[in-house]
């Protein structure tokens, strides 16, 4: 399979050529000129980029929904029950839920800051959807491949806590305020170990684009072997970043009702809920890409399938952790982040530097 972008450019050129031919057939001067304009390079480029984006959004959302399904079924098995039974193997539960939240009424609390209340949730969702674009599925199937793709992804990720804080504050509710504060404190405490792990990957591979990192791993070794400490640190920090049990304090339902999202209803809440899984999906993707060799694997199935199956396996471990543990406290998370994960990440960085200096890789 050749590059997705090139394929779509060819398709767009053909499509626009067809449209131009149709317009030409009308024998109207201005329409023919319009048809010629449609075939110019900027328009073709724009339309094909748009198509890539739409395809990516839909596929990523579908896989995000598959994650929800996977969690429901796997968690069910851990708990000695069957999980959802709606439709074929429970696949339609997500659609039922989606229809339900779409039909709900949109309620804005009377004393909230209306503008920020409406904007914050969309900022959060937008940052999640932007992340989809940063993650390639294979060296042919991606949206962008800039040199600093990893950093770009993490930078967009860091936008999340900001919108959570704004959303929690603007709801004018004590529970959402505490939830927002917790989210900010927790995500910052866990982001630094996360970034240090990524730095160690960059030190070894000498590259910050996903394609480069994966190509390096294909040629040398999966990074989970030399950087096992870093992989563990990244895994724990990733659970915290995706706000899942045991680190789901921003929305700890036992004490904070629904955390920072308490006042959100209707489809906004539904997308926020799904967005947690999208973020978990992205973090699993990052883990696969950075430590498990991304789409590298024997070529009897597609590279994309390798990538996705690894992602689902990583998420299985996320679910396992959730099924086995209880929620821990804010101060304990911060302690864990600063006192345990940060030193581990530094040690991991030192190992990476030592390996590089010694010339092992």
């Amino acid at each position: 399979m050749s590059n997705l972008y090139i394929e779509l450019t060819n398709f767009t050129e053909w499509l626009l050529g067809l449209v131009a031919a149709l317009l030409d057939w009308t024998k109207l001067g201005f329409l023919s000129d319009f048809g010629d304009w449609l075939q110019t390079a900027p328009v073709v480029d724009f339309v094909s980029t748009l198509l890539v984006a739409v395809i990516f959004l839909i596929t990523a959302m579908m896989f995000g929904l598959c994650f929800i399904w996977q969690e429901r079924k796997t968690l069910g098995r851990f708990m000695d029950r069957r999980g959802t039974q709606v439709g074929f193997l429970g696949f339609f539960q997500n659609f039922a839920d989606g229809i339900k939240v779409i039909l709900k009424e949109h309620i804005v609390p009377k004393d909230s800051d209306h503008l920020l209340f409406e904007l914050a949730i969309f900022a959060y969702l937008a940052s999640t959807f932007m992340l989809f674009g940063c993650i390639p599925y294979s060296d042919n199937f991606y949206v962008i491949d800039v040199d600093l793709a990893v950093l770009l992804g993490i930078a967009i990720f860091a936008f999340g806590p900001f919108s959570i804080l704004i959303g929690g504050w603007s709801s004018n509710n004590k529970f959402t305020l505490i939830g927002g504060m917790r989210a900010a404190a927790q995500l910052i405490a866990l982001e630094i170990p996360l970034l240090l792990c990524i730095v160690s990957v960059a030190v070894l591979t000498g590259d910050l684009s996903f394609v480069g990192v994966v190509t390096w791993q294909e040629e040398n070794i999966w990074l989970i072997v030399p950087l096992c400490i870093g992989a563990l640190t990244f895994f724990i920090a990733a659970i915290g970043e995706s706000e899942r049990i045991p680190f789901d304090l921003p929305e700890a339902e036992a004490e904070l009702v629904e955390g920072w999202a308490t006042e959100y209803g209707d489809v906004r809440w539904g997308l926020q809920m799904a967005s947690d899984y999208f973020r978990a999906y992205i973090l699993c993707g990052l883990f696969t890409m950075l430590f498990l060799g991304g789409w590298a694997g024997p070529e009897f199935i597609w590279a994309e399938a390798w990538y996705l199956s690894k992602t689902f396996i990583v998420f299985f471990f996320f679910i396992w952790v959730r099924a086995a543990t209880v929620r821990i406290r804010t101060d304990q998370i911060l302690k864990l982040g600063w006192r345990r994960l940060l030193p581990l990440a530094v040690v991991n960085l030192l190992i990476a530097v030592a390996l590089k200096v010694a010339g092992v890789f």
Partner: protein
Amino acid sequence: MPSDEMWINMGPQHPFNHGLWNLRVKLKGETITQAEPIIGYLHRGWEKMVENRTYSQIVPLADRLCYGSSLSWNHLYCLTAEKLFGIEAPERAKYIRVAVLELQRITSHLTWLMAVGTDLGSYTIMTWSIRERELFLDLLCKLSGARMTYNYCRIGGVRNDFPENYERDVNRTLDEFERRLRDLESLMDENEPFLMRTVGIGKMDGKTAMNLGLTGPIMRASGVDMDLRRLDPYEVYEDMKFEICTHTDGDVYARYRVRMDEMRESMKIVRQAMAEAPSGPIRVKAPRCPPKGNAVCHVEDPRGESLMYMVSDGTERPYRLKVRSPNFVNLSASPPMLLGFKISDVPAIMGVMDMCIGETDR
């Protein structure tokens, strides 16, 4: 009030309080500096209501005091009424009652464990203990025909004898449960996050606990060997061999341990009572109206000391019936446990208390 402090109403509708009640906490940052439980949202006027019911009409009403351990309330009412009427249940009925009460205690403790699981954020604990509880609900359903509100005890005995092969079923269930209880314990005792959430939280020493009137597992976890089954034996608990489970730490983990151990001891008592039950009648006839006077009885509920004080004026309706609910007092003693801990600890501390608002508000 300084701007870094705020009052938070955790309730009456809040995921952590099982039932309708309100915990007002004053937070400084996330630390609790003041706490005030507010109850009364489920006050049904039970004590006034029963003054207009005949004695036998109150038996099913006593069930409704707490759906989690309805049999122990049912039994307490019948025991107090028997005292007031001056009759005594036959020997076999006493053994049956002890066995069934201990089954009820296990059920109640499993319900409690389920609530603790959700409060601490582990739905695995919840579903597992619900699954275990179902075994005992099946047993009690077979015995009495109901899953929750059994209406099983009668003034002067019990309603019916054990059904066919009941002892075999109970023993099978207990064997199975013993195995599963080990699984359940390993899910929590070997779980570092669970220990992080429970050890050293909500501490209370024995002297304070005694002064504040705490009873039941919470009291025993503070290092006081207080159990009415031993201190003031009723029915045939005198003849039963069992340990009273205590713990000295007085924190949330100790309270959890005490209840888990108690389930084991309850199983022992059930086996003994089933094996030693003599044959004979299960019920004596009770008169319609008791003599003038009053009677008091207190028993060891799964949650602590529950007491009923009954005054009769010689008519067919009680003149006054007062219920002492263990949770009512335990809840009043909760603010000292909460002070200085984080808001995240509130579900842990209040969760192990086994809140039941039905009996607290009456």
